[in-house]
Amino acid sequence: MPAAAERRPSRLQRVFGDTPTAWLWVTPAVVIILGLSLVPMAWALLLSFQKSDFVTPSTWIGLDNYSRLADDPTFAAAVRHTLIYTAAFVPLSIGGGLAIALALNRRIRFVGFYRTLVVVPYIMSATAQAVLFSFMFDSQFGVANALLDQVGIARQGFLQDPGQALWVIVLIGLWSGMGFCVIIYLAALQDIPRELVEAASIDGARRRGILLHVVLPALRPVTVFLFVWQTFQSLQLFDLVFVTTRGGPLQSTTVVVLYVWQQAFEFFNAGYGAAAAYVLAFGLLVVALVWGIYQRRREARVA
C-alpha cells in the first residue's frame, strides 16, 4: 500500500486527498467512533420507530412511540424530576464549587489537605456514594435523623418520603458534583494573570471589586463549560437513583434514563424506551447547540 502510494500518487490522491496516508492514521479512530457511537445511535433511532422487545420480530410503527410518550404521565413525571434535579444541581454545584475554590485559592495552612478532601468525593464511584448516603439518610436508623434528634428537630422521612427523596438525591449529587467544579475552578484561578489582579489593586480596587470585575469575568468561559457539562451530567442521572431509590418511593424519583432502562429491560418495550432516550438526546442536543453558538460568538468577539 505505501509503495503503491508512492508509485501512483495521482490516482490515490484523487480519491483520498493530498495526503492519502493520513487516512491510514485516522482509520482506526474513525472506525471506533463510527462503530461505538454513530452506529448504535442510528440503530437506536430506527428502534424508536418500531414496536420491539428484542425478543420477537419487531414491527414498524412510525411515530407511534413518540405520540404515546406525549400522553404518558409516568414519562412526564420522569422529565419533570430530571428537570427539577438539573435546575437545582447545576447552579448549586457551580455556585458552591466556585465559593469553595475561591476559599481554597489562598495561602492558608494545610490547603493541600483541604483541596484533597474536596476532590475525594468526585473520585468516589457514584454507586459507593449512593450506598453510603442511603444508610446515612435511612429514616429509622440513619445518622441524619439521629443528628436532627440531637438538635430537637422532628425526624424526617428523607429517601422514604416521596416529597423529600428527590431533594436528598440532589444533596448526594452535590456532594461529589461540587468537587468537580472545585477542581476546574482551582485550575482556572491559577490561570488568571497575577499582573491583572495586581494592577487592579494598585488602581485602588478592593477585594470585592477585584472579584467582581477581574476574577469572575476571567472565569466566564470555564463557568459556561461547567454549566454545559453539569447539565449533561444531571440530565443523564441514573446510577445515584438506581442505587438509592430505584425511582421510588412511589415513582417520586424516576428520572428519564431510569425510565428508559425500565421500559427496555423490565417491561420489554425496547422501541418505546429508545423513543424516550431520543427525547433526552434531543434535549442534550439543544444544550450542545446553545453552547456551540455561545462559543462561536465568543471567538468572533475575540477575533
Binding site: M1, P2, T21, L24, W25, T27, P28, V31, D53, F54, V55, T56, S134, F135, D138, Q140, F141, L159, Q160, P162, F242, V243, T244, T245, R246, G247, G248, P249, L250, Q251, A264, F265, E266, F267, F268, A270
Partner: protein
Amino acid sequence: MTRLIPALVAALLLVSGCGGSGDDATEPKPGEPVEITMWHGQDDIAGRVLGELADDFNATHKDIKVKATTGGVVADQMRQKITTALASGDYPDIAYIFGSDLANLARSDKVLDLTDAVNAPDFGWDDYFAPARDATMVDGRVRALPALVDDLAVVYNKKLFAEMGVDEPAEGWTWDDFEATSKALTDSGKGTFGTAWPAVGDEDTVWRVWPLVWQGGGEVITDDGKVGFGGAPGEAAFGVVNQLAQDGSVYVDTKPDSDQTYQLFNNDKIGMVVTGPWQLPDFIDAKKDFGVAPLPTFGGEPLTISAPDTWTIFDNGDARSKAAIEFVHWLNSPEQDAKWVTKAGSLPIRKGTTSKPEWAAYQKDVPGLSVFLDALDGARVKPANPAYPKVSEAVGQSLVAVLLKRSDPSDALAQAVQTSEAVLAGGG
C-alpha cells in the same frame, strides 16, 4: 515510511479484532467436541461450584466442552444482558433466567421448546419438585429447565422474642397472630420492629403478597388472562400489609436489595423476616439464634410461593442444543444437584437429592431448612404471562403506597386492579 508501521499495525489489530467474534461455528466439525457456553451470573461460591461442576462434566464427557462464565453480569442483570444478546444474534447456549422473565423471553423462537426432551422416559421429569417444573412452563410447553428452587417462610430472631417476652410462632398460626406478634415485638424507644417489607415497588415487594392472595382464594392472573386478585382476596392481603403499616410494626425498606433489613435482623432490631432459604447462611455467619416458621394462613391450608430460576437454552444449531440439554440434565441429576444446592443455599431441584448424604449433612448444619423444604410441597409459582412484569409494577406501587401510609388499602388495591386490567387487555 517508519511512521506508517504503527498505523498498519493498528489497522491489522482492528481487522483481527473484528474477526474474533465472527468465527463461532454453529456446527462443529466431526471428531471435535461440541463447544457450548453457559452464562450463569453467579459470583462467589455459587459461581465457583458451577465452574467445578462444568470441569467435572468436561472431564467425563469428551464429546462436549462446556465453558461456564458469569456472562459478565450478576443474575439480576441477566435479563438485560440476554435481551441485547438475542437482538445482536450472538448469544450463549445456556443462561440463568429468572422464572418471572421466562414468559417474555420464551416468545423468542430462539428459546428451545424442551417438552419432548423432558418427556423422554429416562429424563426423570417426575423426580423434579412440582414448583420447579411449573416454573418452566409457558403456555403448556416446557421452555427451560429448573436451575434453582426456593420458597418463602418466616425466619425469626429468638433473642429478640425472648427479650420482648413474646411467644415464638406456633404451628398453624394465622395472619392475625402475625400482626399481633409483630406489634408486640415493636418498641419505638428501643428502635425495634416486628417485621420488614421491601418497599422499592419491584418484584421483591410484590411476590411476598401473592401467598396471601392465594390463601384468600384469589389468583394473580386467572387462566383466561384476567386480573385475579381483585375483591375479597386482595382486600384481605392488602389488609394485612395495611395493618402492619398502621401499627408501625413493619420496617419499610425503600432501599434496593434489602441489605439493611437483614443487617437490622442480625442486630436484633427486627423480629421476623419473610424470606427464603438463600438467606440462612448469612444468619448462620452472623451467629444468630434463629427459628423458621411456615408462612401464616387465614385459617386454611398452609400455602407459600416458590419462585424458581431457570436454565434457559437457546438455539445455536441442533448439535449445540443437544449438548446443552445433556449438560443441564447432568447438572440437575441428584449427585450434582446435591453439590449445587448445598453451596448455593437453595432447595433441592430433584426429590432424589434429598436422599443424598451431602443434603443430609447440609440439613443438619442449617437449622430450619426442613421448614422450607416441607413447604415446597404444594408451593405455588407465579403465572407465566408476558404481561406479568407490568402487573407486578402496578401492584408494587400500590403496596408501597399502603406501606408508606399514603393510601387507603382499598383504594390502592382498586388502583392496582385497574392498571393491571388495562395491561392485560393489551393497553399497557
